[in-house]
Symmetry: C2
Subunit: 319 residues, 2 copies
């Protein structure tokens, strides 16, 4: 639905080349300095979940969108919409968590705003963050840079965030010891760049999971081939998904990304990611030419099927 809104409502209204890129953030030049600029609102329910909360999510989500532009995250703004009656203690916990996450990600929260709405016009607390980052290299890292032959590297195992939030909602009939993967990703991107890797595109996996991210990146002239057996999924996550009838390829993440890398740099990129804190990074597929923008999944059963974008809401208010 978000994509439909973008295509039908927002893109025509705000028509400009930066928005048209459908990238994680806008990249532009000011006085010879290349900047990235992005925003996300966070409405996750519940506010606190194993491995994170709306505060750490709001910092890492926006920091990661900057990182996916190849930008070093610098500064964030924070906008809070508080529902009347929200305990001040809750706001304290969330802001402390944001401050911790900002420190870990190396950014400052430099400006903010607070609005209050009546009871029944919010849900405790919504947070918006916007972020500015600086691009310190000359690469163009964007969806339109992907070329046939590029390999797809996944930085870690998938599905933890979505399952952790559903578990925190009490929507699972069983206990599950899974924490969200919510984490800042710039350190890994920086390692890649420092090692001389020249990624064609980076994309963090959020709402809609790995499958939606890859489908979104498909151009009109090439396909992706993905090997399901190469995608790392923790046993507990796989088990929870089976019980819930959910496909882990579509479950949300908040600390995983895919890097689309020219093939001759595949080993360098993989080794760099493994060394810099992504031990289960793996090549999961490749871009192949003469396609029509489809994602072909070679399933665990050995058959091949196409992946579609997630439609409808598998798990609303997951971020």
């Amino acid at each position: 639905m978000t994509r439909r809104l973008i295509e039908r409502v927002f893109a025509p209204a705000f028509n400009n080349p930066m928005l048209a890129q459908l990238h994680d953030g806008a990249v532009f030049d000011v006085g010879g300095v290349r900047l990235a600029f992005t925003t996300d609102s966070y409405v996750v329910k519940p506010l606190f979940f194993p491995g994170g909360d709306i505060g750490s999510l709001a910092v890492n989500g926006t920091v990661n969108d900057l990182a996916m532009c190849g930008a070093r995250p610098l500064h964030l703004t924070a906008g809070f919409i508080l529902e009347e009656g929200l305990p001040i203690e809750t706001l304290h916990r969330v802001t402390e968590s944001m401050a911790d996450a900002a420190r870990e990600a190396g950014v400052l929260v430099v400006s903010g705003d607070t609005k209050v709405v009546e009871r029944g016009r919010g849900d405790g607390l919504y947070v918006n963050t916007a972020g500015v980052g600086v691009i310190e290299h000359n690469l163009t890292i964007a969806p339109d840079q992907i070329q046939p032959g590029d390999v797809v590297i996944l930085s870690g195992d998938i599905g933890r965030h979505g399952v952790a939030v559903l578990a925190a909602r009490g929507e699972l009939a069983f206990e599950i010891p899974i924490e969200s993967d919510c984490a800042p990703l710039w350190r890994y991107v920086e390692s890649l760049l420092n090692a001389g890797v020249e990624p064609h595109c980076l994309r963090d996996l959020t709402r809609g999971g790995l499958a939606t991210a890859i489908v979104e990146l498909c151009g009109k002239t090439f396909d992706f081939r993905v090997i399901e057996s190469a995608v790392s999924i923790a046993e507990e996550v796989r088990g929870a998904c089976e019980l819930l009838g959910m496909d882990p390829l579509y479950v949300a993440n908040e600390g995983r990304f895919i890097a689309i890398i020219p093939p001759h740099q595949c080993e360098l990129a993989l080794a760099t990611l493994k060394q810099s804190g992504c031990p289960s990074a793996a090549v999961i597929g490749e871009a192949v030419g003469d396609g029509q923008g489809r994602v072909w999944l070679q399933t665990l059963m050995g058959i091949e099927r196409t992946l579609e974008m997630l439609s409808g809401e598998q798990a609303p208010r997951i971020c």
Copy 2:
């Protein structure tokens, strides 16, 4: 309440010099380029009112915060929180209005985000915008630059936005032909800078009105003296305020600002503002030394009393 939250919750958590300035936005340097960065969330009720709507408000409010930092507004992000059931037509109208306001203000909406919450967890539509601007001069325009002797210039008549929104809510028992003053302010700031005026501080009048803005700017070592008879208020606004028992000095504005100017530039600043589209710009007061941070109002009746910050909610969800 917002100020208490800032002082007790946000400032300690996000402790950093930029946030500590309590300015309309953060100012920082990236690679030798001076940038301003700010955000606001908008929860105005109703979404549409005479002279504007939540969309034009969300653009102008953030553009104006950048202008008050002395920065040329460049790019905005937009984050939407939609309540389930919001008519798509409403979203269309709001985004078209945002696009028009962005064109008028000379900015691009370059990145965005949409979240959907369940019925009863929002109020139609909340909008957050964040903005980046560039500072193309070497002045420091900030509250801590104000000096005793500086004059206070008000750019136009006050109270239109607050009265227009209350009227649109049907909270007035009478019809009133007043439109919000919602408008972008950079053009006036740019005129001042181009004329060689070196403002010590700029502040737009929003929630809490003129009185709250001036009280917020008071330092610990100087007072402000304000002449009430110099403050321009339209007859209809004054009449509506009298009937409602509201003090127009505390009523919200979205297209007015005060400029704190060194005294020798007073005439230049005033003439420049009048020429550039603020015909009723006027000197309304001055900063005086040896004070304790009080605002002294010489009232229409000729007596002198102190102005306090607005506490409690004179008119909630006005922006």
